[in-house]
Structures are given as C-alpha cells and as structure tokens.
Symmetry: C2
Subunit: 200 residues, 2 copies
C-alpha cells in the first residue's frame, strides 16, 4: 500500500509549505492545486470556476425548484466537480506515495489509512506569515491592515471548515480526525517536516 | 526563563511515559504524582484524599447551605488543596526546567508560555496500552474485558475533561490550547519524545 500523507491546514499556518517540504524530504509526489488543474482538464471548465466549486460547500445544498428555466440557464456542475475531485484524489493515491493538501483527502482516503496531519497557528502567527509571504498564496496579505487580514483569515478558515464538515460529516481541525496537529506559531516548519518524514 | 513542558493526556494514551522520556532526554525534572505527595505533606491530609480532591472537579461546585452541621462534620478541603496545587506547580516551574503532567498546568503557567503538549489516542490504542501495561497506572486493565475497559477509559477521560474545564474555562484537548497534539496510536512514544526534546 502506498505511503499517503494528508494535510488539513488553517489558512496562514504554512500548511502548503509544510506539505512541499515533507514531499521533498521523502522524495514523493505533492498534490494541491494540481488537482484543480486536472479537474479543469477533464471537465473542460475553467480552473477559476473549478477552484471555486471544488473548495466551497454549495451555497444551496439542495436545488430549490422555483422554475426550470433558471436551472437550465445556470447548470450546477458542483456535484460533477466534487465527484471528479474525489476520483482524482483516489487515482493519485493509488499511483504512488504522495502528500495531498486539503480537499478532505483524509476522509476520502480513509480506507487507505493515510497519515493525517493538521497544521494550525494562533492568529498572531497567521497574520505574521501572511504579511511576510506577500503572494497570492497568502491573499497578498502585506497590502491589508492587521484587522482586515484577521477578518479575511477567519473568513477563509470558516469556509474551509464548512466545506470539510459538509462533505465529511466530521469537525474540521478536531484532533480526533488526525494523527498529528501542529501549531506552527511554536514549531518551525522545517523541524516539523523532518519529524513527519522520519515517522512516515 | 525556565524551559517548561506541560502535558495534557487522555487516560491510556501513554502521556506519563512520554513525559518521563522527554524529561530524561532533556535531563530536566519530571512532576506528576510528586505534586500530590507534596500537597499531602504541606496539608497533613492523606495522599489518597488529596489525589481524589486534586484531580476532580467538586461534586457540588457551590456549597448548598442546607444545615450548618453537615458542613461542620464534612469540612471541604477542596479549595485549599487546589490552591496548594496551584502554588506548588508555580514553585516547581520557577525552580528549574521541568515537565509537568496533567493538573491544568498549561493554564496555571500560561504567563510563562510553556510548551503545551496534548497526547491522545483512538480507543483501540488506549485499550491495547491498558492491556499491555497491567499496572495501577493503567487501572490494572488486563483484568477487565475490552468493553469494561472502554467504559472505564471514557469515564476517567470525562472526569479529566470536567476538571480541566471547571478550573480553566477552556475545552480539554482542544488543539487551540496546545502547541502539539499527538495520536500515540500512530506515533511511537520514543520518536515523539525525541522530537519534543529537539524542538524545546
């Protein structure tokens, strides 16, 4: 059975960086946005649309039939995108050892018993990281005030929690669903990556 | 400032063993039942009584004045024991580097910014540990059926959660209150101790 490491992560806590380092140290595949690109390819939908649909729970969980015309004009690809995401994650995990970031992969792959990591931080640490890493990965945090940034971080994490809970029925970030939960405000990502690569 | 490591732990997850190993690797003091012994010495109460009072939240959080005689016959040393426990933990932490297991030490010492570890496991792992370590530390688990043991483990952990929440106002085992949460069903205690001793 392949070695699979899944990473749940709070926005701003360095989960992506940790995932890349762990994959690098172990010399195994790393999947994050690659999943979105692959769904876009397979469905002929734009990456932007796929990302939006694949990373958020549906606004209306069950279609409300107020008029057929509405649904015909705005078809809902949400379920198809989720199904494709599910298939791709399972394909990737069956192909080779890998690190998969986000997307409820810990739940999707639960039968394969992955090593389930959750990366979090206190708000101060998250703000610091977003300020220091002024990229789209961190929502260009350096251009916002600390208050704006804190609000934005909470908003993104609320959306991640909603998504995870909607599709898994489990509580996002509850240690019971993970094997290791690490606060990156206290532990350096390099050291955490070294540790995980040794125990996996 | 001294290096202080606090360990919250689910019963049966190997928290005490981890604490001892971390203290040994770092060559620093280890406090667990030593705290009970010290309270007993200072208060002239029996260790058994102190342990019971020091590790459980009061059955009646606020005295009900149904009759003065009742309270005179059964004096309540709970508050005094808690105060003494609080003082001793602060004294120990100020004396030298140390590892302190349980007793809400993470909260009592929060101003000293300890490294806060929480050790847990899934039920299967906890039962296995209790069966394999047939000592009073593990409630002599080998003498019970798996069902009896699971019930007992849940009962003890419920009591620990109640105690922690009563005295700290925080949720026991919620990762937000810790720097590292480790599932010992997936991670060997020796490896966890080595990691903690390196990052602290």
């Amino acid at each position: 059975m392949n070695k699979i490491i899944t990473i749940g992560r709070e926005f701003g806590s360095g989960g992506r960086e940790a995932g890349r380092k762990i994959a690098e140290l172990l010399g195994i595949a790393y999947y994050d946005r690659e999943i979105i690109t692959e769904i876009a390819k397979r469905t002929s939908l734009s990456e932007k649309y796929v990302q939006n649909v694949a990373e958020h729970k549906p606004v209306i969980p069950f279609p409300i039939h107020t008029g057929r015309t509405f649904w015909a004009v705005l078809p809902d690809y949400g379920q198809a995108v989720q199904q494709e995401q599910h298939n791709i994650i399972r394909e990737m995990a069956s192909k080779s050892d890998c690190v998969i970031v986000g997307r409820g992969a810990d739940y999707i792959l639960r039968e394969l018993k992955p090593f389930r990591l959750f990366i979090y931080s206190d708000m101060e640490g998250k703000i610091k990281r977003c300020k220091e890493n002024n990229s789209s990965d961190y929502d260009n945090g350096a251009n916002m005030t600390e208050n704006e940034l804190a609000k934005r971080i909470d908003q993104i994490n609320k959306s991640r929690a909603d998504y995870y809970e909607f599709y898994t029925g489990q509580k996002w970030g509850d240690k019971a669903n993970y094997d290791l939960c690490i606060n990156t405000a206290k532990i350096e990502i390099t050291k955490l990556a070294e540790f995980v690569s040794k125990i996996c």
